[in-house]
């Protein structure tokens, strides 16, 4: 196979595995150059499928290039490069290697032409992301990584069973649009949704990601959920159930973020919220809605990474993560504050940012389709995004009160990564054609009409007013908010412990019985053959002679005829 036939994701993974074997200086160059080189390769590949291969008797197409796959591969590789720049000072080598395996697997999924290849890269992604989380090296990260990997292994099993059922029923391995109508396709959909952070498994995301290192969460935020969004766009466009699921996620993210105190967990809940907009778009399913979902995924990766870089900088420079411990940092962290605010404006869909030109396509498609309830809820949610992430994050971290902390801005590589992403967020907002040209369907949409800009500014402005008027109701408390994961972290864990103790007791009983049986056999043997055993006793020579005499006599009698 030539290099053109190799999935670019594999090249990224292979490059990642080489990282430990090069010197520190070369590694710094390689982590920046590798994703950009793979990105260039993706853009040189012709559209269409690479050579079909045979695997376990099935035909697979590990490489398929089209606009949708290329859009996601592009943002994943850009993100890997930006994340690597931000993490240049990260001393944990495992995190960087794992992050690139993770990014490469995500690229593998979006450029795969068949479900089997999708599954293989899907599982590799779970391994890579778990290791990114694990690499933080704290006990809480290790525990969170275990909880995280269990949910993703479950998701992987559901996806695999679905794929097997689908292939068995249709004989097709190709990854094309499906309807959730058979057991196989329902399970595939469920597998995708678990990774998207859909209910009832949304909690895996805010539980796990904030335990990663200051740089680890930047990588984690980008790939898993957005690969799931890609898979939904490709596999289930127009599946109506996704509208309801997406709207649930949107409001779940807002409400839980409003209750949260940990700055990075606020941003984690807001990932679920933002993915909810995309899932809703996929459910609406028109070309405009799918374009909106894809564009929003692209834009979201950039501004969420920017927000998490800003939060990661605060974490690194202060060692604190709770809003109640932070505040007033704008004084000494001007770059981090400014970049954090740009990210916050972009996530809020402020005009002249990437969020505005991307998300409004989803709302527009709801309006065009006459989906009144969906449109009103999406509009309310847009206000809620400003409330829970757009103002709450910068306000509590950088302003609010004077916490007395006077940390400096982070090192140059981190500042540069934030400045570059800020430039992209504003650049895409001002020149939306840059993004629209990459979308899977032709774009016939003009985001910048006077009415649209004024409406959006009104919505956001009055949301801001609501925030400051209701601020007394949003005082941060040192609390966690229970979620569906309570079921498996409390009663589930207790049941598992009981089951384990029960099994251990049964096992102890069984081994005791078996030991008693063995002991009784041994006692009998000892009685017969032991030092004083009847068969092991030493006898006197007189006795032996008498015994021999009797035995010979008996033999004589017996044999005498």
């Amino acid at each position: 196979m030539t290099i053109e036939g190799l999935p670019p994701g594999l090249l990224m993974i292979a490059g990642a595995l080489l990282l430990p074997f090069v010197g520190a200086a070369a590694r710094r160059v390689m982590v920046l150059a590798l994703p950009l080189a793979v990105l260039a390769l993706v853009w040189m590949l012709p559209e269409g499928s690479g050579p079909a291969l045979s695997f376990l008797g099935q035909s697979i197409a590990p490489l398929r290039v089209d606009a949708l796959g290329r859009l996601f591969a592009t943002i994943f590789l850009l993100m890997a490069a930006a994340g690597a720049l931000f993490a240049l000072g990260q001393s944990r080598l495992l995190e960087g290697v794992a992050a690139f395996v993770y990014a490469g697997s995500a690229v593998g999924v979006v450029l795969a032409g068949d479900l089997i290849t999708v599954f293989v890269f899907w599982e590799l992604m779970a391994v890579g992301s778990t290791l990114v989380l694990w690499a933080a090296g704290t006990p809480s990260a290790a525990r969170a990584a275990m909880r995280y990997v269990q949910v993703h292994l479950l998701g992987g099993v559901v996806l695999m069973v679905g794929i097997v059922a689908h292939v068995a029923a249709t004989g097709q391995t190709a990854f094309e649009a499906m309807r959730p109508e058979t057991l196989g396709t329902w399970l595939i959909l469920a597998g995708f949704l678990i990774n998207a952070g859909a209910p009832p498994f949304s909690a895996w995301l805010p539980d796990a990601y904030p335990e990663a290192s200051w740089s680890g969460m930047v990588f984690l935020s980008a790939f898993t959920t957005k690969t799931a969004v890609y898979a939904l766009i490709r596999g289930f466009p127009g599946a109506e159930i996704l509208i309801a699921i997406g709207l649930f996620m949107v409001f779940y993210g807002i409400i839980y973020a409003l209750l949260e105190n940990d700055m990075r967990r606020i941003l984690a809940y807001s990932i679920v919220n933002q993915v909810g907009f995309m899932v809703t778009g996929v459910g609406i399913g028109t070309e405009m809605a799918l374009n909106g979902a894809a564009a929003h995924a692209f834009a979201h990766i950039l501004y969420k990474a920017l927000l998490l870089m800003s939060a990661g900088s605060v974490l690194l420079m202060t060692g604190r993560r709770l809003c109640s411990d932070l505040g007033g940092l704008f004084r000494t962290m001007p770059v981090t504050t400014a970049c954090g605010i740009i990210g916050a404006l972009a996530i809020s869909s402020f005009p002249w940012t990437s969020g505005f030109v991307a998300k409004s396509m989803i709302g527009q498609s709801a309006a065009d389709g006459g989906l009144a309830l969906t449109w009103f809820l999406l509009t309310a949610a847009s206000a809620g995004v400003f409330l829970h992430a757009g103002i709450k994050f910068p306000w509590f971290v950088f302003f609010q009160k004077d916490s007395g902390l006077r940390p400096a801005d982070p090192p140059w590589s981190m500042r540069l990564a934030m400045i570059l992403l800020s430039a992209l967020c504003v650049g895409i907002g001002v020149f939306p054609g840059l993004l629209y040209g990459l979308l899977p369907h032709p774009v016939d949409y003009q985001p910048y009409t006077a009415a649209h800009v004024v409406e959006m500014l009104q919505l956001l402005g009055f949301s801001g007013l609501a925030f400051f008027l209701l601020l007394p109701m949003m005082k941060r408390t040192r609390t966690v908010t229970l979620d569906a994961d309570w079921l498996w972290r409390r009663p589930g864990a207790a049941a598992a412990t009981r089951l384990w103790t029960g099994l251990a007791a049964v096992f102890a009983e069984l081994t005791a019985t078996a030991a008693a049986a063995v002991r009784s056999v041994a006692d009998h043997a000892r009685a017969l053959h032991g030092p004083r055993g009847i068969l092991a006793r030493s006898m006197s020579s007189g006795g032996m002679a008498a015994f021999a005499l009797v035995a010979l006599g008996l033999a004589l009698v017996a044999l005498y005829r």
Binding site: A372, T379, Q458, L470, V480
Partner: protein, 87 residues
């Protein structure tokens, strides 16, 4: 990790009461301007209600207030100390 020394108080211009008051006045003037601008440019109303006067202003404010109250109510039921899951 850089040193994070504590200063008892400082007088950054941005947090002075006078500045905060000016920010409030400026903000409210801006909101009023946006409502006025909304009457000048007419968007396309799709569902009737969204064509009402200053729809985005009162809808955005109302939605946020509702969400804050909803979170408050849910918090009463679902909030636990942040050491809840620690072993």
């Amino acid at each position: 990790m850089t040193e994070t020394s504590r200063h008892a108080s400082d007088d950054h211009w941005l947090v002075r009461p006078a500045t905060v008051r000016r920010l409030w006045i400026g903000g409210i003037a801006l909101l009023a301007g946006l409502v006025a601008a909304g009457t000048a440019v007419h968007g396309h109303a799709y569902f009737g209600v969204d064509g009402l006067f200053a729809f985005n202003a009162w809808y955005g404010f109302g939605a946020c207030a509702a969400m804050v109250v909803a979170a408050k109510v849910l918090g009463v039921l679902l909030k636990r100390k942040d050491t809840y899951y620690d072993h």
